[in-house]
């Protein structure tokens, strides 16, 4: 096995008492001293600092970069205003999803953030498609990425530079923090208001320490990051979405703007368009839904879902599940036949040989508090 990589905050994680685990080729903190439950609740009530430096940061530079990127994603990139960010998907020829990502228009370039486990494939995909058109694809390896999330995130970051308070959900800006040039977006993956901050490696520890020095801010590990995004109804690539799930099945059609749909000015032209666009009208065979186990037992990824308490074959399965600390009980997401997605529909998840009732519920499980 290859040696695990470390982020610029590795020593700080250890000093903070983190329990480190291998994740996507990196040694990452799964929890700190508070533990997953308290870290989760702290993020929802105050502010949590996450090291997400393992994620991939990529710059696309050159005339026509936005239009060129549209050949890989069913997203309106050319229609993305300067200083704004939007969610996107890399699709494949079968209409499946190769990765999900954030795309920011930072004026003279596009800034992408992609998943850690997919970043090498994503960079290769970008180079192959864009470099022949004269677009430079720059994989950023000398910057850390931190997320600051929660209702007190704005106050905590504004204490270092008040300019960030002006930003609204999905705005991006260049701001000086700890004497370094930070690229900030007002976004995150917890359902809370907050920021993602790209900063030169050399200033990453200073920034983390300046934020953690504030009473409202605690370091938060990957364990709570997962339960926070699950409660927020957000997909985890490789679990809730993958190369076999289409945007329609995944409930991600909102990420495909009108201009890229059939009859749009820039309809299609991305991998799998001939599968993905018709599904907007016809619907997919399966659909991702929120699921609330009726008992207390968590239902985790892989649990098969049945229509009846006895007999029959599985009709779906859970793709993410666990305990939702803010919900105060088990929560899950999974795929079921698209004709039975109405809230209140009951399925049975098989856990340890027993079929336990689970109800389809609307996503998200908690109210999103983005600052629009």
């Amino acid at each position: 096995m290859d040696e695990l990589k470390r982020t610029p905050l590795y020593d700080l994680h250890l000093a903070l008492g983190a329990k480190m685990v291998p994740f996507a080729g990196y040694e990452m903190p799964v929890q700190y001293k508070l533990g997953v439950m308290k870290e989760h609740l702290h993020t929802r009530s105050r502010a949590g600092l996450f090291d997400v430096s393992h994620m991939g940061q990529v710059i696309l530079r050159g005339d026509g970069a936005a239009l060129a990127l549209e050949a890989l994603v069913p997203v309106s990139v050319a229609g993305l205003a300067e200083g704004r960010q939007r969610y996107g998907l890399f699709t494949n020829e079968d209409g499946g999803i190769e990765d999900d990502l954030m795309i920011a228009n930072r004026g003279d370039h596009l800034f992408l953030v992609v998943n850690a486990a997919c970043k090498e494939a994503d960079v290769a995909r970008l180079r192959k498609a864009l470099e022949p058109q004269g677009i430079a694809v720059e994989y950023i390896e000398d910057r850390a990425l931190l997320a600051l999330q929660g209702p007190e995130a704005e106050a905590a970051l504004a204490a270092l530079n008040p300019a960030v308070a002006e930003m609204r959900f999905m705005d991006v800006a260049t701001v000086e923090l700890c004497g370094a040039e930070a690229w900030i977006s007002r976004s995150g993956y917890t359902g809370e208001d907050g920021f993602e901050i790209s900063i030169p490696e050399s200033a990453a520890v200073d920034l983390a320490e300046a934020l953690l020095a504030q009473e409202a801010v605690e370091p938060i590990g990957l364990g709570a990051r997962d339960s926070l995004r699950l409660e927020a109804g957000l997909c985890l690539y490789g679990h809730d979405i993958d190369s076999t799930t289409t945007p329609a099945a995944a409930g991600l059609l909102w990420a495909i703007q009108k201009v890229r749909r059939a009859d749009g000015d820039r309809a299609g032209g991305f991998p799998g368009a001939e599968k993905i666009l018709p599904e907007i009208a016809t619907g997919a065979a399966t659909a991702r839904v929120g699921l609330r186990p009726e008992g207390r037992a968590p239902m985790r990824e892989g649990v098969p879902l049945f229509e009846a308490e006895e007999g029959g074959e599985p009709v779906g399965h859970i793709t993410s599940g666990g305990f939702g600390p803010s919900v105060g009980g088990p929560v899950a997401m999974g795929y079921v036949p698209a004709q039975s997605v109405l809230p209140g529909t009951r399925y049975y998840g098989e856990v340890r040989g027993k079929r336990l009732p689970v109800e389809v519920v609307p996503l998200p499980f908690v109210k999103q508090t983005y600052k629009r």
Binding site: V30, Q31, G35, V36, M37, K38, G223, S227, R296, A297, P298, R300, G322, F323, P325, P330, R352
Partner: protein, 119 residues
């Protein structure tokens, strides 16, 4: 108190043995969110899976430490699984069992041996 290699503690209480998990085990599990206990009256053999415990991270089984009969279970930890993290070697006991021969406990680790075992 006696200890098993599965990180259970056992304590004699009259003619019964009280069983729970150690502080070390509770720390390793992380926040406990779900506990499923056996029915009182269940006869068990050593290493039978008798309790299911789920933390925020994963599900684990607790094995019967000895042959015997489960006579009482602690419903308080089903109602509030967080107690397992708060007081694993006290209030958050799991079950009480009746065993044929209490001398079977002599085979288990004592406090010093368990401390060595977990390093």
């Amino acid at each position: 108190m006696k200890f098993t290699e599965q990180h259970e503690w056992l304590e004699i209480e009259g003619d019964l043995v009280v069983v729970g998990i150690t502080t070390h085990a509770a720390e390793q599990l992380g926040d406990v969110v779900f506990v499923e206990l056996p029915e009182p009256g269940t006869t068990v053999s050593k290493d039978d899976e008798v309790v299911v415990i789920e933390s925020v991270k994963a599900a684990s089984d607790i094995l019967a430490p000895l042959d015997g009969e489960i006579v009482e279970v602690n419903e308080a930890i089903v109602e509030d699984p967080g107690k397992v993290n708060e007081d694993p070697e006290g209030e958050a006991w799991f079950f009480k069992m009746k065993i044929e021969d209490l001398s079977a406990l002599d085979e288990l680790m004592d406090d010093a041996a368990y401390k060595d075992f977990v390093g």
